[in-house]
Amino acid sequence: MESAEMDHLTGMNLEVDADAGRHITNAGKWTKFIAIFMFIALGLGMMLLLAGSTMLERVLGSALPGFGRYSSMGTGIFVAIIVIVGAVFFYLFYLLYSFSQNAPAGVASEDKQLLNKGFQSLKLYFIISTSISILALLFTIYSLVFSGILR
């Protein structure tokens, strides 16, 4: 009797059933692939930009006589911006990687804490990526207004 009542109550709630588990595991596989690819692309991109900044400093130093005095400050700011932007994007893709590790593991071991940690990471990933998109969107609107397209 008690067992039947429990079954009824369980039926009233959402479950991570076989289907849901399969979808979460699938999402985990693809997010892991995306995150690892992005880590590599981000690393390569940052290396190229940092190498580019040193080259730019050298080119500007030889072209502009007075540049040498300010070059280290300019390069320093450029490197700092690259590092900060790189760190934000690294954290963004780390969140995706964290989802890919925690959510499927939570499903496999029926561990709600792990599953929740996975969903929390994915939520944060969407919060940060959407905030970056909104900033880019505002910049686009500004440039469209400035160039006279949206006037």
């Binding site: 991570v16 979808h23 995306i34 969407f126 959407t130 469209l144």
Partner: protein, 143 residues
């Protein structure tokens, strides 16, 4: 029989209040992300059409906005629409599943979310393949 029961028990546990909270937040942000992407897409289309109208008057259609550019624009627009529609559907179904306690909607939402990431992954593979092909072509052209 017993094995079957054990197998059924795997992947079957209740979504608790904390999970519901996380999923509600997740679906809300997925929706905001898709809406932002749609607005960005509309603005970039307006900007491209404006540039086309402005420059085609001077240089003619072919030079200002060649066929390749047109294909690129159409392809990126279609991919963006498909991706963000998938994200909106995922968010809407997960939300509905949570609000109505409906397992069908909930699973459909998770399935759409998995498809969204799958499309993104496949796009990365396609872009990577194109880069490799372009690299080899560039090498062949040099020798």
């Amino acid at each position: 029989m017993e094995t079957e029961n054990i197998h059924q028990h795997i992947f079957e546990f209740e979504v608790n209040e904390e999970s519901k909270g996380q999923l509600q937040g997740l679906s809300q942000w997925m929706q905001i992300s898709a809406i932002t992407a749609f607005i960005s897409l509309a603005l970039s289309l307006i900007s491209t059409v404006y540039t086309y109208v402005k420059y085609s008057a001077f240089f003619g259609f072919r030079s200002a906005f060649g066929g390749f550019e047109m294909i690129k624009l159409l392809l990126s627009t279609v991919i963006s629409i498909i991706l963000n529609l998938m994200l909106i559907q995922a968010a809407a179904n997960i939300k509905k599943g949570l609000a109505l306690t409906d397992q069908g909607y909930f699973n459909l939402g998770l399935s759409k979310m998995a498809t969204y990431f799958k499309i993104m992954g496949i796009l990365i593979i396609v872009v990577l393949s194109l880069i490799v092909v372009a690299f080899f072509f560039a090498l062949l052209m040099r020798f």
